[in-house]
């Protein structure tokens, strides 16, 4: 005989306004199996919870129904209260009489009747509830950080400093990411490399960090606390331990024509190279597509020059396996491809801006390299076509961003500040030059950000024009920029020497592949989805996988760093216990009935169902059945709906319970 207690909450006026709580409580007391029925003005308050605890003890209740708000709000609260009264928390159910009743109905009598029905359903369910125990899973205290930009570096250092080992995987030959290529940073104009490179060196020297450069995540298996990650280390053709980074090899390399990735094609590099002088690790890499020895079998000058005998032309890709407890994805961004050649000699995208056709139309990251002391011009602003110092420079905002027709609907957030910074850096180097900015809105929300933009206008004399540029043409070596100043209500044509396009931020290439490997969702643009935009901003819906930096959405350096530290804190929080506890409301296969069709396995969005072999005592294989991995199952119930033989059920939400709920309404 069930002894169920029903506790109906007034929620101040929230529920009581449209529902006759007293009448509900009286009617609930009459439901089969209900031992007692009580109300409280605020059931979630301390006195309310005490009422629940005391009643459970006094009436020796074996099931509890709380009629109040959404379980998303307070299910945890009430389950904890029951646990304190020695009642298994999974014997507590909630009837949502606020969001799904009082808030959405106005007719009191009918809302009251519906509230009673909701409680009736919950009571019918709780009569079939079983006591459940949380699932315990062991934790491997080691973290994988994917991406060695500023976010990945911050996360890796925070975690490593707290004593937890970190595996940092970076696709490029050096860590540092986009930030390493910036000249100066807003809003302080401090040198980007000066603040980043010490952190990079720290990563290289940290005893708790294993760094894999030229590497990508090949495969991720397992589940929270127990991932097994395979990393593909691309052949570097250099023995990193023997190499001293002296530079003899790249100074002698005769293949000097490859456009430098680090300078975004503005400069050239050799086939054996380090991307930039402060690269970490400070070891070169051989570009297998440019090296004369690897492509044509000739040359080998670097071998002769190398005194450390570190060149390895027979180097092969290598697969490294790591046991990992948590994963932080920090793969960062790339710029929107402004002018895409369509293979037939035409340029799509922003064809009217002539990017890719006119050498003096460049992207904002290319401009960073032009200004940077380590850049192709040694920090002198000289335009790519003829090396002249540009006297008029036009900066264009929102190239790709906020452009539904051609690019992306979202605001890339950093470009307003980037443009302001660029006008200042330009003015500081070319005193008699004039910077123009075309913008739609100035979005400079942030500490000292708006002041920074005003400084660019008021002190450094940048001309800001509200309006978009429609077309750029080339005449006599100058770029004719046709725009408009909508505030003046006048079309505006500027003859410029250099045009800088602030292209939109997009997630790095291949982020979708990685997201699928770690089961993290991504939006239509490829940005990774957080678990909750406000309250769980670095968690994802895949347990044990966290995001930070620009792979999650457009953001600047301070925000990326903040988020990276937040992700690190979340990982350390997870590791603060020896074992992880998970909700036990997951799928369970009744193996004696399973026919082994594996429809469930194919449909499971979390890859939580594995085939298991049933063997007899002699070890002979009897048959294969589906088995749920309790570490991975999220309890969505897709498998339950699909199972033909009805041999999968969801703990805490069994078919028996659901049928009883439906039946109770007859």
């Amino acid at each position: 005989m069930a002894r169920i207690g029903v506790f109906t909450c007034w929620c101040g006026e929230n529920i009581a306004r449209n529902v006759d709580v007293q009448s509900v409580a009286e009617q609930a007391a009459q439901l089969p199996g209900v031992r007692c029925s009580q109300t409280h003005k605020y059931m979630c308050s301390d006195p309310g919870q005490k009422l629940i605890r005391d009643t459970i003890a006094a009436e020796r209740l074996d099931g509890v129904v709380i009629a109040s708000c959404s379980p998303h709000m307070h299910l945890k609260t009430f389950r904890k209260a029951a646990e304190h009264a020695d009642l298994n928390p999974y014997l507590v159910e909630m009837a949502n009489v606020r969001e799904q009743c009082s808030w959405v109905h106005s007719q009191r009598s009918r809302a009251t009747a519906k509230a009673v029905d909701l409680i009736r359903v919950a009571v019918a369910k709780v009569r079939h509830n079983r006591a459940l125990e949380p699932i315990q899973v062991p934790v491997t205290r080691k973290v994988l950080v994917v991406g060695g930009g500023v976010a990945g570096i911050q996360a890796a250092l925070d975690i490593a400093d707290s004593g937890v080992p970190v595996v940092l995987v970076e696709r490029e030959p050096s860590i540092g990411g986009k930030m390493a290529g910036l000249s100066e940073t807003f809003p302080t104009l401090d040198c980007s490399q000066c603040i980043l490179t010490p952190r990079m060196v720290e990563v290289a020297q940290h005893p708790n960090i294993t760094l894999h450069t030229c590497s990508e995540v090949e495969q991720v298996e397992g589940y929270v606390g127990n991932f097994r990650v395979t990393i593909r280390k691309q052949a570097r053709y250099i023995d990193v331990d023997k190499c001293t980074g002296c530079g003899q090899c790249w100074n002698a390399c005769p293949s000097k024509k490859t456009p430098s990735e680090f300078d975004y094609g503005l400069g050239k590099r050799t086939a054996i190279y380090t991307p930039f002088p402060q690269a970490v690790p400070a070891r070169p890499v051989i570009d297998r597509d440019a090296c004369l020895r690897l492509t044509k079998g000739r040359c080998g000058i670097c071998v002769k020059k190398c005194q450390a005998d570190a060149i390895r032309f027979d180097d092969q890709d290598e697969l490294v396996s790591e046991d990992i407890g948590a994963i932080i994805v920090a793969t960062g961004y790339q710029l929107y491809e402004i002018g895409k050649p369509d293979g037939q000699g035409r340029v799509t995208g922003y064809g009217e801006y002539g990017y890719g056709r006119y050498p003096d139309v460049i992207s904002s990251l290319q401009f960073e390299r032009l200004v940077s002391a380590s850049g192709p011009t040694g920090g002198e602003i000289r335009r790519p076509s003829d090396g002249a110092v540009p006297k008029t420079v036009v900066f264009i905002s929102c190239v790709g961003s906020r452009d539904n027709a051609k690019g992306l609907s979202y605001c890339s957030k950093i470009c307003c500040m980037v443009n302001a910074k660029h006008t200042m850096l330009y003015k500081h180097k070319v005193h008699d030059g004039q910077a123009h900015v075309f913008y739609m809105d100035i979005r400079a929300g942030g500490k000292n950000y708006d002041e920074f933009v005003r400084r660019a206008i008021e002190q450094d004399g940048a001309h800001y024009h509200r309006g978009r540029v429609s077309k750029i043409t080339q005449e006599d070596g100058r770029l004719i920029v046709r725009g408009v100043d909508t505030l003046a209500g006048e079309p505006l044509t500027i003859a410029a020497d250099l045009v800088v396009l602030a292209a939109a931020m997009r997630p790095a290439t291949g982020v979708e592949d990685l997201a699928q490997k770690v089961n993290v969702g991504y939006d239509e643009f490829g940005f990774l989805c957080e678990s909750h935009p406000k309250l769980r901003p670095v968690e994802t819906n895949a347990a044990g996988v966290f995001v930070c930096g620009a792979c999650h959405g457009p953001k600047d350096i301070p925000e990326s760093v903040t988020q990276a530290s937040a992700a690190a804190a979340k990982v350390l929080l997870m590791f603060s216990r020896d074992r992880l506890y998970r909700e036990p409301e997951i799928a369970h296969v009744q193996e004696s009935a399973c026919a082994g069709c594996f429809a469930c396995r194919r449909s499971c969005p979390y890859h939580a169902i594995d085939p298991a072999e049933i063997r007899d005592r002699q070890g002979q294989l009897v048959r294969r059945v589906a088995r749920v991995n309790p570490g991975l199952c999220m309890g969505c119930g897709t498998c339950v709906a699909l199972c033909v033989s009805k041999s999968v059920d969801l703990e805490g939400f069994s078919e028996e319970q659901v049928y009883a709920m439906v039946e109770s309404l007859r």
């Binding site: 539904n404 978009r468 909508t486």
Partner: protein, 188 residues
Amino acid sequence: MPQDLSLDTVEELAHARVQDCYQCGKCSAGCPIVERMDNLPNQLLRLLQLGRIERAAASAAIWECVSCMTCTTRCPKAVDCAGLLDALRQLSIEHGFASPAQRRTILFQRAFLDNIRRNGRLAELELVRQFKMQGFLDDLSVPQLFKDALLGPQLLRRRKLHLRPRRVKDRKLVGRIFARCQANGEKP
């Protein structure tokens, strides 16, 4: 029966949504004849957004538009700006907002279309005759009547003026094209 001057009418005529416009100004920046406009295309759009249809429809700028469609093509929000200006011209005609100078533009356009309808291609002398006569009947201005007379010899020399009209063979087909265009323009 003139259509009423509401934003709904404009949007229905143009099959465009005015509120989509976020006033970036790319339409004005790219417009080849923007220097001749009293209101820039983006300003016309703004007037429409504010519901000031009459002011937009009475603007001289809508008669300067040559329907090159650059604004529509480059609009980042896919607002059919040229189509909206077309709708404004239609409303302007129906409500008689056009100034005398603009009325001549309308007369010319009507005479031009009429000519094409009849001949299938342009018969220049016929067009000049029809346009000048109707213009004269409208404002009785003698200077206007003879204003372009000196262009005649030049046009002749450059073979832009054909004394004998050349017509297309299948003029019924032209009639059907016109019929279909007008059916599309009507309200469903």
